[in-house]
């Protein structure tokens, strides 16, 4: 090969490596950007008067007089809509059967769409479900619902070889020549007067209970559940991991038993997370009955087992990184081995051990598969501390899955899903950044 070609190849080689790293960074950005941007939308959004009513009626937040005044203003703006509808219904009731049949279904659909947008009509009986008791609380959702008031979906099956094509047809065309012909343009023009959108910061998203399977309210039960599970896991994993690390670094003779223990640890690190879940079910719940069925306790134990190898390895590494002179100095002063470990080695290794613990914490908080069968439920109240021994809890990781796949109205509560993802990811990121900072400080101290 010519020298020039070799040079080109050399450059391309380095370039491909840099491209790979750039792609990795890009993947991280693409991954995190939607989570942060749309996740923030759970807290910072344009709320309508309905949101403020919910806050007042369910959480007793906000100025009662002001909200009630707003509500009155909104009702006044909505009045023509209901008046037109009532007039049209009256004329239908008096008219002939053919007309009634012609307008029956379109009118029913229209009223349903308006109900979804604005909430129940003034003369309506209070519905059962909370999502039917209020109109759209978020302005972005209200825009979507407005489109559903103005247009109806129509499927075009004229070409039998292809799947039906969705077309949007204006509902106004269905009602030409009726009293509600003007209703559509009125709603379109005056939606802001009917819903009174305003910039809202709903930071209580983090600390509010959820209502009506996450249609309203916040994610406190999930947050608390994740906290319990994580702390519980560490309560089990840290003492055991620390003791194991001390034994393996300071006491263990180099024999077959020690090697077996080491193999066990690395095997444990490689067990798929879902298998931990099954084991937790088969052992903690079905065999030794730590609780009747799923509970935070059983979930914590399962998670503890999962993060145990991480804790052991980090602690071992940290203890090994303590210079031998420290220990020798302690021993030469007459300290026993255990005394040396306790008073010299552990304090010196503490930052490293903490790093490992913080990373394990992030892992325990984010893991889903081990808690599916051992601790997680989809809907639940926040637990008191003593209830964690016997009861299952919602948790961020599980509920992200649950709301994104199994919820009855996945599209309606995207903001809650994104909000949960944002909270979980930021939690894990903060923990990991803490670990990175800790590690940098250790490195600096070691160099000094």
């Amino acid at each position: 090969m010519r020298l020039q070609t070799r040079k080109v190849l050399d450059r391309a080689f380095a370039g491909s490596g840099i491209m790979a790293i750039a792609l990795m960074v890009l993947a991280l950005v693409i991954l995190l950007a939607p989570m942060f941007v749309r996740g923030a939308g759970a807290i910072f959004f344009t709320g309508t008067v309905e949101h403020r009513r919910i806050m007042l009626e369910k959480f007793e937040r906000g100025d009662r007089a002001a909200v009630e005044a707003e509500d009155r203003a909104a009702r006044t703006a909505r009045e023509p809509v209901y008046r037109d509808l009532a007039a049209f219904e009256k004329s239908l009731a008096e008219g002939d059967a053919a007309t009634r049949r012609k307008y029956g279904k379109p009118l029913h659909d229209l009223k349903k769409a308006i109900h979804t947008l604005l909430g129940p009509a003034p003369d309506e009986v209070r519905p059962m479900l909370m999502r039917d008791q209020y109109g759209q609380a978020r302005w972005d959702r209200a825009q979507v619902k407005l489109a559903q008031v103005l247009y109806r979906e129509d499927w075009d099956y004229s070409d039998p070889t292809r799947a039906g094509i969705k077309r949007l047809k204006p509902r106004a065309a269905d009602f030409v020549g009726t009293p509600i012909e003007g209703l559509f343009s009125y709603v379109e023009r005056n939606l802001d007067k009917m819903l009174l959108p305003r910039r809202t910061v709903y930071w209580q998203f983090l600390t509010d209970d959820s209502y009506d399977s996450h249609f309203f309210g916040g994610i406190w039960p999930e947050l608390l559940g994740t906290f319990y599970l994580t702390v519980g896991a560490l309560l089990f994993a840290v003492p055991m991991g620390l003791i194991a690390a001390i034994y393996l670094t300071e006491y263990a003779p180099d024999n077959r038993w020690t090697r077996l223990l080491r193999t066990c640890i690395s095997t444990l690190a490689g067990v798929p997370s879902i298998v931990f879940g099954l084991f937790g079910l088969a052992f903690f719940i079905n065999t030794i009955h730590v609780s009747e069925s799923k509970s935070v306790l059983a979930g914590s134990m399962t998670l503890a087992l999962m993060v145990l190898p991480t804790v052991i390895r980090a602690a071992e590494e940290a203890i090994r990184a303590v210079p031998a002179t420290f220990k020798e100095a302690a021993l030469s002063l007459g300290a026993g081995r255990w005394h040396a470990v306790r008073s010299v080695i552990l304090p010196a290794a503490l930052p490293g051990i903490l790093t490992g613990i913080v990373i394990s914490m992030g892992r325990a908080a984010g893991e889903t598969a081990p808690i599916i069968f051992t601790a997680a439920v989809s809907v639940g109240k926040p637990l008191a501390l003593w209830q964690t021994l016997t009861q299952a809890t919602p948790a961020l990781s599980w509920n992200i899955f649950n709301l994104a796949t199994e919820h009855e109205a996945v599209d309606e509560i995207r903001h809650v899903q994104y909000g949960m993802v944002l909270v979980l990811v930021s939690l894990v990121l903060i923990l990991n950044l803490a670990a990175i900072v800790l590690r940098a400080r250790i490195a600096r101290r070691m160099r000094a």
Binding site: V8, I18, A20, I274, G366, V421
Partner: protein
């Protein structure tokens, strides 16, 4: 007596405190032995948990094989666990797990190894300090967040603009690769020619090969562009996401392997006139090959054992794609089946439907044990070789 005890105590490594009575020293020694025993007991207990896992998963898996035998589980693709005559053919799940893992490895290994090479041999230290946290964060993001991204962001994107995205990706990879291949091929073809003819022959070869490559590329990109992906939740989606998830493992383990190859090998190669690329490809990579193999195995483990992403975004269709490599079709994996079916099987603990999931878990467990053991063995052997 006490004096002599004290002097021996000073010389011994684990000396009890000086100047103690005989009895106090004995008490201390007993305490030390007991403490040591306690440490050993706790350590053994926590580490032997893995044996417990094997025992308890196997204990619940065996009833399935006893009831239904081995044959159907491994050879049939018919998965109707809740039918009146239940069928438990898990072959499609095995194939699904294998397919997404293969896809993930195809994404993670080229990217990961070239990133590792770049980190260990090309980039300066300061850049490395910035890239390391990125890798750590990629590894730390919870799998359910990856799954959410795959399901909510990536799947609709693939479904609506899958063709153009694939076409752009293929172009971005294909153009440089084809360009290099053409240059190298033209060089190799004309190497033997006499000096005078060579330059002209080279230009000719470049033109011919270049045109050919262009035509092939354009055709490939065009056919990709017109591709219609019926559903965004498919094996391709999951493969890409799993590949990104496996990247950190592959990068860090193979970087360790590359760093373990000493400077002397590299310098020897440079001294013989090799460029950096030639040194890395012909000298460093072969020397680090076992470590990189271990990295690949660990990446495979990560992809096989992953649950949430595949459960959310693989489509969960219990079928073998036709043809088997068609990654645009939905698949179903072992992990997703365990996670998804346990909810319904839970109430009837003891039925074949419950135990078959443990049989799958046992298969996963054995596979990860095999992978783990072999990667450890490979790393240990490599260390011995480099050390010796």
């Amino acid at each position: 007596m006490e004096a002599s005890g004290a002097t021996t105590g000073v010389t011994r490594r684990d000396a009890p405190s000086l100047l103690l009575s005989h009895r106090a020293r004995r008490r201390q020694r007993i305490a030390e032995t007991l403490g040591r025993g306690l440490l050993l007991a706790v350590t053994s207990f926590s580490t032997l948990a893995v044996l417990f896992i094997f025992v308890y998963i196997a204990r619940d898996a065996i009833p399935y094989f006893r009831q239904e035998g081995f044959r159907e589980f491994f050879t049939s693709t018919r998965w109707y666990p809740s039918a009146k005559q239940p069928e438990f053919g898990a072959l499609a799940m095995f194939v699904g797990s294998g397919l997404v893992t293969l896809g993930a490895i195809l994404v993670a290994v080229p990217l990961g190894v070239s990133a590792a090479i770049c980190l260990s041999d090309v980039l300066p230290f300061s850049v490395r300090q910035v890239v390391k946290p990125v890798i750590e964060i990629l590894a730390a993001i919870p799998s359910v967040a990856y799954g959410f991204f795959a399901l909510v962001v990536f799947a609709p994107l693939l479904q609506e603009r899958g063709g153009p995205i694939l076409a752009v990706a293929a172009g971005a990879v294909g153009v440089p690769v084809a360009g290099l291949a053409v240059i190298v091929a033209a060089d190799l073809l004309t190497d033997r020619l006499p000096d005078r003819a060579r330059r002209r022959a080279r230009a000719l070869a470049l033109a011919v090969l270049g045109t050919g490559a262009c035509v092939v590329l354009v055709l490939a990109v065009r056919s990709l562009y017109g591709l219609v992906i019926p559903s965004g939740t498919n094996a391709l989606n999951v493969s890409i996401i799993l590949g990104i998830m496996a990247l950190p493992t592959v990068v860090s383990v193979s970087e360790d392997a590359l760093q373990a190859v000493g400077r002397d090998l590299r310098e020897g190669s440079y001294a013989l006139g090799a460029t950096r690329a030639e040194t890395l490809v012909r000298t460093v990579l072969p020397a680090a090959s076992s470590g990189i193999l271990a990295a690949v195995i660990l990446g495979v483990m990560r992809a096989v054992g992953e649950t949430m992403v595949v459960w959310m975004a693989s489509g969960n269709a219990s079928q073998i794609p036709r043809p088997w490599y068609n990654i645009l079709q939905p698949v179903r994996t072992l992990t997703a089946t365990i996670a998804g079916d346990m909810g319904e099987a839970d109430q009837v603990t003891g039925s074949a439907r419950f135990h078959v999931l443990f049989a799958m878990a046992l298969a996963l467990l054995l596979f990860s044990f095999l992978c783990n053991t072999s990667s450890e063995w490979i790393i240990r052997r490599a260390r011995k070789k480099v050390g010796g």
